[in-house]
Every structure is written in structure tokens, then in C-alpha cells.
Symmetry: D2
């Protein structure tokens, strides 16, 4: 039994969360609950499930399915998450979540900070 | 400029969050906000800062320093976080946070689940 | 173009390598090339491809497909990797790689070290 | 004893390796042994040791200290690793390894691939 749990633990694996995201999620307008919801979506996507339902999220979160559905909708509307339509080999349409808008938002805020820093340095040098 | 942000991003690095924790934090009694607070503490510890103040946490979270202090106190009291006293070379006492209680709590719940599964399998076989 | 590379980078994701493995792979008898081969297998498994071929590995490594096939065979034989047979819904047999033997080997060497440490401490106390 | 190893495992933590690096290290001219050496350096840097010696690397690798020293030198000379001089508060000079050149090399090869892809798409459209 002893090593079974460690083996299960390792087989399940980990998700990598960029420290950039940990340091800046509030600055791009996310709450802790929304951040965790996005991390759950990322974990599902990495496991090959590109469209986790509100029910699935709800099992792992402190929120009920209705609140999860509302939160996912809000995250899409406010530009942290996107839904991309695609068609499989049989021509059946399916939808995939993508975290691309989140990474772009994060990229833009860091770029803005960098540019402000440069302006400050130039101002100091004058 | 272009590659600077990617380089900064990579130098800052990532934190690894075990999927075991992502799947079970609600079962061991944590909210999303508390989970994120613990991840912040983990990130600070990995960077060598073993005692992040409520003020430091507050900068990265949606909570003010007072609420962060209360949350850290509550996480310690409820057994997810511990404070270990130690003495440096000059004999000065310092305190370190440790996530050891969190990992033990998680280990125990998984062990309990495994044992229940075994009991079920045995019951089915009879 | 600018943020595209970062977005691609983030979408591709990361693999988490336990520092335990980084610190002890030589002690459990692995070379650097074998360690990297196992990390490639882990990355494929996490993406849902549980049986990467020697050809696939070869594209990412400095080895040709023949050498990759030999190395995978050797890793299985020496107990770092296992091949598990399974059957899909249509009754077709398929094979899955598993890193379970690697984690067990690592677990055992750490356990052995811990026990040796305890014996030393007891000897010192006498 | 039972949960001790898991706790040690979690406290030691993990390093995150971008899949971009796993997929392209051979294309930017690295061998598996050199890749692992760079991952060791990354792990040391993240733990706060910015200048691991060849002796330290040697303990974790299949190479002796002399070979590790040669490899580190070669990685610096060929542009995967850099040594940055800095001065501490007492004015004492110290040296820090940086993986910045590695990330830039990786960024450039992906950018080149992206541009070639765009050229191909344009050529097809004509």
C-alpha cells in the first residue's frame, strides 16, 4: 500500500502555473476563484478534455453547477477564455476552450509595465 | 523588446501544482481563495522567502493585509500550514512557514479513499 | 506576430520533473540520455499518446530510431518502464507505457536512505 | 514513516520544463547530457544557488567534475548559458549563471519556423 499513493500521485501529474500569472492575476482583473477555475480548465485541456462542463468543474470547486456556468460565461465575455468551434472527421461540430486570451492579456500588461519602466529610466537620465 | 518578455517569463519560472491537490482541495476543506493563498506561500518558500508577510500576500491577492493575516492564522489553526521556529547562526530566532500539514492532510484523504475502494472490491468479490 | 510565440509556448505547456528524480537518477542507475527518454515518454503520455514509437522519440532526440528502440527495450528490461496490455471497447488489444516502475524504484531508494539515516541517529544517541 | 517520503518529495518540489524545450533542444544543437546539465543549473538557480560548481553538478550526473567543468565552459562559449558578474552590498564580486541565452536561442528558432510557415502559406495561396 505504502508506495501506491505516491505512484498514483506521480501518474496524475502536476500543472505548471507561471509565476507571472500568480503575480499579476489581480492586475488583469481576476479573483482567486476565477483564477482557480481557469487552472481547472487548463488541467482538463492538458488531459485532452477541451470542453469541461460546469458540472465537472463544480465537482472540484466550492461552487454549484449554475455558478460554474455563470463564471465560465463571464470569463469568456470579459476576455480570459475563448470558445473555438471546430469540426471532427465525421463533420460533427465541437467546441474547445482556449486560454489564449488569458496569455495575451498577461503579455500585454507586462509589456505595458516594461514600456513604463523604460520611460521612467529615460526621464531619469535627462 | 520582443523576446524580452518571454525571457522575463522564463526566468521568473513556474510553480508545480499537483493535480491531486487540484482535485481534492475542497474535500479537505479549503476554499479557492485559501488554495491560492497556499500556492502563494509555496511560491515564496521556493524563492527562499520562508515567511511572507500578510502585506506581501495582500499585494498579490484581492484581500487587504488584515484579511490576509486572518486567513494565514486560520490556515495554521485548522492544520493546513505550520509555523516552525528556528535559530540562525547568530542565534537569532526566525519563523518559517511549512506546507507539510497540507501534504499530510491530502495524503490521508487519498489513503482513506484507497482503503474504502479495497473494501468495496472485497465486498463485491464475496 | 509578437505575442504569438509566447501564446504557442504557453499552449504547449510544461512537464513537471520532481527534484527527487533530478537528484537521484544516477543512484537508481540511469544515464542522462535515458532520463531524457523517460521524460519524453512522460510528455507523450500526458498528451494522451500512451505508446510513443521509437520513430517519434527519435525525432526529438539525438538518437536514430534503432537506438531509441533498443533504449526503450533496455529501460523496460531493467525495470524503469513497463508495457501494459489493455483492450479497447472494440476488443482490440493495445499497449501503454507506464512510468510506475520508475517511481517505485525512486521511492525505494529514498526509503532506504531514510532508514539508514535513522540507524545512524540511533547509533549516535547510544 | 509512511507519509514522510511523500512530504519530503513535495517539499523538495519540481522543476517545470517547457515542452518547447523538450521538442527543440536537438534543433538548437544540444545533446541530452547538455540538456540535463542545463536543467540542473536551472534547479540550483531556483533554489537560490546561482553558481553551482562542477563538483556539485558532478554529484548529480554521470560525469566527473572535470567533464562537468568542460561542459559548463562549452555551454557558455556556444551560447546556451551566460555568466553575469555582480557585486554584493559589501562590494564583493560574485558570478551568477543565467539561462537567458538558452531562452533567446529557443525563441529565435521558433520565430524562424513561424516565418517559414507563413511564407509557405503565402506561396500556396498564390
Amino acid at each position: 500500500m505504502e508506495h501506491n499513493i505516491l505512484v498514483k500521485w506521480m501518474k496524475l501529474g502536476s500543472i505548471s502555473v507561471p509565476k507571472m500569472l500568480m503575480e499579476h492575476y489581480t492586475k488583469i482583473g481576476l479573483t482567486e476563484t476565477e483564477l482557480v477555475a481557469l487552472l481547472h480548465v487548463q488541467a482538463f485541456i492538458e488531459q485532452g478534455d477541451h470542453f469541461p462542463t460546469p458540472e465537472l468543474l463544480s465537482v472540484r470547486m466550492t461552487k454549484n453547477p449554475d455558478d460554474c456556468a455563470k463564471m465560465l460565461g463571464s470569463l469568456c465575455k470579459r476576455g480570459y477564455l475563448s470558445l473555438e468551434k471546430d469540426w471532427d472527421e465525421q463533420g460533427i461540430m465541437y467546441e474547445d476552450y482556449s486560454l489564449e486570451p488569458l496569455w495575451i492579456k498577461l503579455f500585454q500588461i507586462i509589456k505595458k509595465q516594461e514600456m513604463e519602466k523604460e520611460v521612467e529610466i529615460e526621464a531619469e537620465e535627462e
